[in-house]
Every structure is written in structure tokens, then in C-alpha cells.
Amino acid sequence: MIADDLAAVRERERTAISLSTARIAVCSAAGCISTGGAAVKDALGAAVIAHNLSGSVRVLGTGCLGLCHAGPLMRVTRGDAEPVLFTKTTPAFAERVIAGLPSGVLPLEQRCDLQQPFFTRQHRIVTSDAGIVDSERIEDYLAAGGYTALERTLAELHPEDVVREVSLSGLRGRGGAGYPTGLKWSTVAKAAGHGTFIVCNADEGDPGAFMDRSVLEGDPHRVLEGMAIAAYAVGAEQGYIYVRGEYPLAITRLKTAIRQAERMQLLGHRILDSQFNFRIDLRIGAGAFVCGEETALIASIEGKRGMPRPRPPFPAEAGLWGRPTLINNVETYANIAPIILHGGAHYATLGTERSKGTKVFALAGRIVNTGLVEVPMGMPLGEIIFDIGGGIPDERQFKAAQTGGPSGGCIPAAHLDLPVDYEALAGIGSIMGSGGLIVMDETSCMVDVARYFMEFCRDESCGKCVPCRAGTVQMHGLLTKMTHGTATDRDLALLEQLAELTTRTSLCGLGQTAANPVRSTLRHFHDEYLAHIHDHVCPAGVCAMNGEDPR
């Protein structure tokens, strides 16, 4: 397929859309599916046929619409009218919507106010296709301008130009560490010889994070396109997507998307009739958090135990099978097409001095609007939680926001005005992380939260290096003692010492950050620790404090 054919497909699809009287998008991300979204979509399809509307009404399964707690969500667009969003829909409700379409009367209840801050304060780049593009149809993606960036790249840009645009955008790795993407690309591009690989890290491991899942499920082509552009930029012909086995829907949609893209010559041999070849294979993760660490991920793609190795050498120099390997995460790749389309400089107008663009967050925990949001970098944390997130339910008090999962930290109320930015978060002992943002109120005990994360790291430690394997065990033991009310000041000192040890001496990122939740809670909630140790009291009333010897 060449550019002209692609243009024809787009034209055909756009015409079909313009001829339709209504487009009804049902959120088909895992969240809404678990509350019955699939049945709603089936009911819509059946009703369309029953009402003889097949020619004019299009039903799509689409990416995450954001308000997960209110699913299944349904978005109805009619001509140029403002779209309407319905929450908590059912098959019966779907029938009513379709029945009302010919007369133009839609149900009044279950409408969601699209002017509330949750929608108006977001800035959607990565998630812009949600509600517009059917997750399983490449034609939809093409009609929405998909693969234009790849087309332009192959037609107009040298690989160095691509790297320059990405560098110019200021994009930083969205997987958590925030390494400048352009710099990484240029390192890989400079690494000599053929046989370079590119990898998409879709092993979204942080508990409480589901941004990548939503992107993969809702807009898989966006990721494929970003990877193809990256492959062109660094001279790779083979790519892997390492996706969590726990995301079956994402895997299915990716498989479909790859097949579609290959059929249209957007992947595979001589893409768009250029000299550029690039194929993508899926690798299914098997449940090991440590495989989010890039050297462990590489080992896993090679079919081995996911055990990290020391860096240097970095994967950019010696990665998969010893070859230079570019590894980025899902959200990073999802940002590439817009950067190429609108220019790196345009992208860089969003965000802060050192953190550009937008960030997708998964809001969860004790917050009204649990779900997925995309905001410009630099938005104060408090705005995300209270304006967009709707604040804390049940008239409780905000206590902490946890970012970065087991590698991150807990941010207290005193820092709610902090702009969300890599450096700012690191400055108060947390990290941006991949985007999980879990809100806690006074019903959460921070010592128990630290213990929870330590248990996670203990169980997910690969066991290779001593400080991580054995240090997490000991720290977990000490934290457990604290939550049982049997710890002493000496235990607290040991905990602090071990936290330093694992941070400084562990082999990989998992161990190096395993103590972050401990360190940040020690820093911001020291009095809670002292209450457990000195007064044998759990202020949140979570810990049993029964004085039993933990074992």
C-alpha cells in the first residue's frame, strides 16, 4: 500500500462518518467491560438492527473515557451537536437511546456534565482518540489522522530529523524514571551496526496504575505508529511489545492491530513502499514486576528468568542478544505521532521548564472520580485531586497521595500545591512514576502502607542481589513489628539503615527504590511511626497492635 491508497482509505472512512447521523461510543476498556460494557455494546448493536438504523448509526467500542467509577460509559455524538456522555449504562438503557435517536430525544437521566472540571481541565494528547476511534478498527484510526505521522516521517524526514524533533519536544520517559527520550534515541541511533531492536515496555507493573492498559486497549495503533517512527529513527527492523499477561484484552487488541497494520503495509516489509522494514512481535509477560526493569525485561524477552544485570552497559549499547536496544514505555511511544505531526517545539510549549507535555494519571483510592485523566505537566497536585478528581468522598480528610507505586512515595497535604513535574516530585521524596496516583484519607495508616509496599517488593524481588532479596525481607519484618506494636527505637534505626543500604547498593531499580515508600513516610509521617513504637497506638486504627510476635 502506498500513500495514495492510504489517503483513499481515509477518505472513504471520513465520508462514511459524515454520512452517519449518530456515533455511539461505548467504553471498551477493561474497567467498563467489568461493569457490563460489552453487554451494553451488544445491546446497542442489536437495537440498531432492530430499529433499522444500520445505515446511519455507528456503534464503536472505544478507549477509556476516563470516569471508570461511573461505567459503563456511553458517548453519543450527533452531527455537529455537543456530544452527550451517559454513565452507568445498561442494555435496557442502550435500547432506549437507540429508540430515541430517530426522534432526536435522548434520555435525560444518567447524563454526565461534560463541563465539570474533570473534563474541562484535562488536556488530551495521548488519550485524544477515546470516544472517537473504535479500538478494533484501523480505519477509524486512519480517519482520525492516524499513521499520518509515520507517512510524513518516511516521506520527509531523515532519521536524525526524527531524533531532533523528539529531543526538541523535551519528552521524557513516561515509565517513571524520566530519562530524556531524545537522548536515548540518539544513543541507540549512534550505536553501530544493524540488528538494533526496539522494545515497548508494556509490562505496567505498578499496582494502582492502568494508564498503559487503557492506551493499549483503546488505541493500540497509536503505540504501533510511535514504535515504527522510533524504529525508523534508530535503524531498527524488529520490535517487541512486552505486555503484561494480566491484560488479555490489550493482548487481543494488539494482535488485531498488528495484523491490520501488516495488511495495510504499515508494518512489515517495505512499509508504505519505502526501504523501511519493521515488524513487531508480542511477548507476553508472565507476572513478574521486576520485568519492568529494562535489563530484566530483556532477559525475559530472551526467554529467561527476569533477572536484571548491572548497568553499564546500558541496553542502548548492549541490550537484546547484546545488540543496541531502544526501550520505551507505552505512553512514551503514544506521544511520538503528535510530536512528529505538530513539531517538537509545539509539544514543548506544554508543561514546565524541565517536564514537557502531558501526563496520564490513574486516579484511585479514596477519591470521588476514580479513573483516567491526562493533564499538562506542572498542574498542582491539589488541582488534580480536588478539581479534576472531585476530592475525597464521605467528607473525610485528605491524608496522602501516593505516586510511583512501590518505587514512589507518599505526599502529605502540605505539598498539595506542588506542581507535577519530575524534579518537584523527586524533591519531596516521591517520583512521577508511571502515573498511578492513589489518594488516601485518614482511614489509611502510613506505617501499614509502607509495610504493604515492602511486602510487594519483597515478593517481587528477583532474588539476585543480596540487599534487595534479604533487605526487603528484614524491612518487612521490622515494619510488621511496628504494625504489631512490638517494635522499639532500635528497630526504627535498623529500618532507616536498611533503607539506605538497599537504596544505595541494590543491583537494579527495584531494589534501589524499594525503600522509597518507607523513606517518604518516615519523612512526612514520622509521628505515625513514633505513635506505633512509643505509644503502641495506630492513629488510623488500621493496625491490630495486638503485640503478637510477628513471624
Partner: protein
């Protein structure tokens, strides 16, 4: 072969190009403790005992895997490093059931010797006391998981020198275990050649010979064997 010059603990030292910091230190008799490192086997950088400070980097580097670079300034023995090393040894001692007193490797154990050299007289961490088994199915040797430090020397020597790959690791984290074949009794292993190299390289009493109350290991043998094979040097 070109030569690199670097500073180690304030002294200028020379190094062959591509040499690791550990090799440079050993050549100049600068002690750096190691446990997973074994001359002649690949490096894994797992024990973290050989971590050193490299000026200009806030990350500690494993001396066994870091190449000497011209002009590098390295500290191998700061108070911080010593404290970390002691903690690592203590963590290992608390992890499984290291009862030196009744161990075949008492006084020949590398872990115990590390503890002695670092002045580790006691362990501040709670002993985990896991319930672990022994595999005595092999006619000559015993594997006692209670004393294993998961250094993987046995795994590597079996794979890299003997070429049998009888050993590997199963499970992960604190549940990691050295296994033979499909976690079958060692004595029933189809791949084991009974060469005994794993026993020779084991730093503790985890792998030992039946019928001995003290193990007489010869860890240099494997290094010697590798030299003999690859360089035709039969120098002991």
C-alpha cells in the same frame, strides 16, 4: 596492550586495558571483598560486596563488572562502604540457617571469613529460620539449602566450564533455590556428570562431600582447569 592509569584509594595504579576494577585492585594487593565473583567464571554482580565509589558518579559500582577507565578515581574502602559490606554479610547470615558451629565449612567458609575480616561478631537482623531441605541423593555430595547464599557459582561453573547446565535457580526472591534439572533429586539428574566442580567452587558448606566433618575445598582448581584448557598452562 595499552595501559590505563587510574587512582585507587589515593594511589596511582596502572591497569591493562579492559581490566575490571577488581582485577586492578587484586593486582595491586588492594583488598576488596567478594562472594559471587569467581576467577574463571562470568561475573554476575549479585553479592554487592565489591561495590566501590567512583568519583563523579553518585552510583556505587560493582568492581567485578566495572572496567578501569583512564583517569578514574576509585575508593574501595571508605567507612560507608565498610558499613554496607558488614550489613550485607549480616543479611546473608540472617537469611538462612547458617549455623557455623555445626557446618562442614566451619573455618573454611568464605562467608564466615568475610564476617571475621569485617569484624561481624553478631547479626542485628532477625534470623529468618526458613525450613529448608537437604539433597543427599548424590552418591558423593550433598546440597544443603540451609547454607546456600545463592551466589550461583555452581550454576555458572556447571554451565560455563563443565557444559552440563545441571544447576539453575528456581523461584524468586527469598524463595529462590538452586535446583538440579527439573528440581529432581541430584542423584537422579540425567545431566550431571559428577565432575564435582560445583562442590569445589561453593563458598560455603552448601555443597559438600559426604563423609567429611570439615570440607577441604580447593577453589583454585577450577581456575587452574580453565587456564589449562584455554591457554595450555598447567601452572598451579
Amino acid at each position: 596492550m595499552s595501559v590505563t592509569t587510574l587512582t585507587m584509594n589515593g594511589t596511582l595504579v596502572s591497569a591493562a586495558e579492559g581490566a575490571t576494577l577488581l582485577a586492578v585492585a587484586r593486582e595491586h594487593h588492594i583488598p576488596i571483598p567478594t562472594l559471587c565473583h569467581f576467577e574463571g567464571l562470568s561475573e554476575v554482580g549479585a553479592c554487592r560486596l565489591c561495590l566501590v565509589e567512583v568519583e563523579g558518579s553518585n552510583r556505587l559500582q560493582a568492581a567485578c563488572m566495572t572496567k578501569a577507565v583512564e583517569g578514574m578515581t576509585v575508593t574501595t574502602n571508605s567507612e560507608t562502604l565498610r558499613s554496607y559490606r558488614r550489613q550485607i554479610v549480616e543479611l546473608l547470615l540472617a537469611e538462612r540457617n547458617h549455623v557455623c558451629a555445626v557446618c562442614v565449612a566451619n573455618h573454611t567458609c568464605e562467608l564466615q571469613n568475610l564476617a571475621v575480616s569485617m569484624g561481624v561478631h553478631h547479626v542485628r537482623y532477625e534470623p529468618q529460620a526458613p525450613q529448608l531441605s537437604m539433597d543427599a541423593s548424590h552418591p558423593r555430595w550433598i546440597l544443603d539449602h540451609n547454607r546456600c547464599v545463592l551466589c550461583t557459582r555452581c550454576v555458572r561453573v556447571c554451565d560455563e566450564i563443565e557444559g552440563a547446565h545441571t544447576w539453575d535457580l528456581m523461584g524468586r526472591g527469598r524463595h529462590t533455590l538452586v535446583i538440579s534439572d527439573l528440581h529432581e533429586p541430584w542423584g537422579q539428574s540425567e545431566s550431571c556428570t559428577s565432575c564435582g566442580k560445583c562442590v569445589r567452587v561453593c563458598p560455603t558448606g552448601a555443597l559438600f562431600e559426604k563423609g567429611t566433618s570439615a570440607t577441604n575445598k580447593d577453589p583454585h582448581f577450577v581456575t587452574y582447569l580453565k587456564m589449562a584448557r584455554e591457554q595450555k598452562l598447567w601452572n598451579r
